[in-house]
Point group: C2
Chain length 463, copies 2
């Protein structure tokens, strides 16, 4: 067979692909995340990978993202159809770059078929034409939840988010993490109370958001550029540096709120934070899993209340492993209706790839196979097939070895793939309706009657 | 909030989107299919949605498919980067239109990290720029398995495919189905034995493939156009119409093989079919689930041996619900190595959408929620949150109602969403550490101590 020598068959830069053991890890993480999301009543949806370009650009004109447009390429034998196939202009379509604008479109498309508050999860691939840097992908999977109300949405939904984050990261067992909670109204209100002009507040919040990356000196510079007075900057820096236990920080905020009663928005933010924290506690989130951190701002424009980031303790350089917040004017964009929402997002592709690199997560075995029925002699194949089916019916993942190879080789390959058991049946065993069961982990080998084989394996399977 | 009046927020034509109950059905089908695939040791992989265009065109030059190319669209504030962002020519990229060429590329990319025979499943979205007709999508999910060998691959892998198909369609409970098995070598060999020239055989197989759609008269016409003699055509028509039990058809084939011993390829095909059928039987596939059907040809060029189609009995117009076959020269295309494979594909998006339309499948409930903790009085919220968490820890999917609404409304909404249970706790119940548990299906309401609530619900949950 001739090799197509000139074809560069590598993946395009930024479009990741995983080995089987890594993909199995992703499937496990997706299952774990899904289970937690569903336990809080979030229902799955999936919006198309492709939307009308004008939909994707509806909110904030695609922000800073490079969108991938799509254009039909006809096969050589159908070039004549070219005119008909080209869909451009108002028909221009592109790949989605996040799941927020598509959620808004989904709600607009199905408004009368949905129940509100509408709590959905979505774990689709999204696409951004960014230059592919270390850990930055052009295709990646985000695991988002949002709950969206019509007109109103209880703050207890904000309180559930840290409970959900904590359950997920406890379940996937990646060590200590800390959910850092803040409220945009607290920041906005405080900025306003120290005299920052209303129109500068959004960019000031953007500057605060860069604090961990660029450091305090650079933040002070940026404030200066923005025209914030040195005295105001100092007050802001002191404010976002307030440290202490959740109750200590809350007490300081309440004290500030009392002494600045004219700052309505600040006071509202403090009350919201208090409610959210009491909900988080009622939901049983461990005290060491969350904190109030007034320096958390989130870069995105649309947040209006509670905001969250999550750090992996000892690995803060990884950045936030789960973030989100409350917004008011995002989801109703296509309907002209106020639809407040709160949501979080786990950037799974990036997170997994970084945790693998840091050795915090490891790939699973390269195959789901738990048992290999080895091929001792070809004429026993009917027995091997039959035994394999019996084990499968008992819920065990089985490969029957069809290739005839020395037994040692068959054990070796099973072990290399991380398979725990080999079932060995020669003519003697077949006649006696027995099998030898070899545990490749413990090196133990026992004889088991065929009728008890499934049970014997299930008892010994590593959890 | 202003409505973006001019935006057409509908999905682009051919890009499907499902309501929550339909998406939940898809998730259930994917889980079921995955479980069966994994029970035979198939391991998950996912190749990027985007490949280099030259990779997608490597085999058969994209066939008849319209591929979607992708091109970066810069945000207005970054137009200056235009030159750098454009990636065209040898860097041209496009969305994958099937999972076969990407599998070949995956194997080429990771050859030394994979174990052979390499058995993988893949359930990714693929994209084709076809005109969107009824039931035809431009974005759809295919659930494929293939097992690929280096140089050789046992025919028992071919025998496993009908076992896998049967298990999946038995599990999803869509009624009677029939797996129709044939072998391309039998067809090729027979065509050759009646005197059809070698170079016409592929198109003749293509014509046979259209039989069910266009009928016998049209097939005879097409053979005539192809220059096949009427006498040859008659023999072919008689041949593909051979009917009977599996053993009857096999016997006829063996008889034909004996009387035409010079037709090596035919005889090889018959031997292969025999081996495959004996494997299918050893795997315990019920006799009413499969047949030999000599009119099954499969349109795709690359099949070289066993081929499969699956009909839903009584709904044959739906077309094949699972198809596949054996191929020799497909997967090694990037390596210049012979890598025989055998695989099947379930076109899940199309299948599900057609089964929903035909009423053979129904959407699931719109939410995974099993229990609503209703909101009787706001000041008991700490109790509601605590009870909800206890139920979740027991593996139950729970929504706490944060909105204060009349109880009747709360029951109504729960029922509308298909939620089975309401937990009702007023101040009396809270004081007595009890709850009222209302089953919305049976209308039964009982009192349960809070400590037994999870158990009581789990016992009563519909399976």
């Amino acid at each position: 067979m001739a090799k197509s020598e000139k074809i560069n068959f590598s993946t395009p830069s930024g479009f990741p692909e995983f080995l089987p053991g890594e993909k199995r890890l992703e499937v496990y993480l997706l299952d774990t995340i899904r289970k937690v999301y569903e336990s809080y009543g979030f229902t799955p949806i999936e919006t198309p990978a492709v939307e009308r370009l004008e939909v994707l650009q509806a909110k904030g004109n695609q922000g800073d993202n490079i969108i991938y447009g799509i254009n039909p390429i006809l096969p050589p034998n159908r070039q004549a159809e070219k005119d008909k196939a080209g869909e451009t202009g108002s028909e221009a379509r592109a790949l989605k770059f996040d799941q927020t604008v598509p959620l808004a479109a989904y709600i607009a498309r199905h408004l009368n078929d949905l129940s509100f508050p509408f709590a959905r999860y979505q774990m689709d691939l999204v696409f951004r034409g960014e230059r592919a840097k270390d850990g930055r992908f052009r295709q990646f999977r985000q695991c988002d939840i949002d709950v969206v109300g019509r007109r109103e949405l209880s703050l207890f939904y904000d309180a559930q988010m840290p409970a959900i984050i904590a359950e997920i990261f406890d379940a996937i067992n990646i060590g200590d993490f800390l959910i850092r909670i803040n409220n945009r109204k607290v920041l906005t209100g405080f900025f306003s109370s120290v005299g920052v002009e209303a129109e500068k507040i959004k960019s000031c919040i953007g500057i605060i958001d860069t604090l961990e990356k660029v450091g305090e000196a650079k933040v002070i510079q940026e404030f200066e550029k923005e025209g914030v007075l040195a005295e105001q900057t100092q007050k802001i820096i002191d404010f976002i540096n307030i440290k202490g236990s959740v109750d200590e920080v809350l007490d300081k905020l309440k004290y500030l709120a009392q002494s600045a009663q004219e700052a309505e928005i600040f006071n509202l933010g403090v009350t919201e934070l208090e409610t959210v924290i009491s909900g988080v506690r009622n939901l049983g989130v461990a005290e060491n899993r969350f904190c109030l951190d007034l320096s958390i701002a989130r870069g995105l424009d649309y947040y209006t209340g509670t905001v969250y980031e999550t750090s992996l303790v000892g690995h803060e350089a990884l950045g936030s492993i789960c973030s989100g917040g409350r917004y008011e004017e995002l989801v109703g964009v296509f309907l002209g209706e106020k639809m407040p929402g709160v949501g979080i997002s786990i950037g799974l592709t990036r997170l997994m790839s970084r945790l693998l690199k840091a050795g915090i997560l490891n790939p699973l075995a390269a195959t789901p196979t738990q048992v290999i029925v080895v091929n001792v002699q070809e004429d026993l194949m009917p027995v091997y097939l039959n035994v394999s089916q019996t084990l499968r019916k008992a819920g065990i993942n089985v490969v029957t070895n069809f290739e005839q190879r020395p037994l040692g080789k068959q054990f070796q390959q099973a072990e290399k793939q991380g398979i725990q058991f080999c079932v060995i049946i020669g003519s003697e065993e077949a006649a006696a309706q027995k099998a030898a069961l070899k545990d490749l982990k413990t090196r133990e080998q026992i004889e088991v009657p065929l009728e008890n084989l499934a049970e014997a394996i299930k008892q010994r399977l590593a959890p």
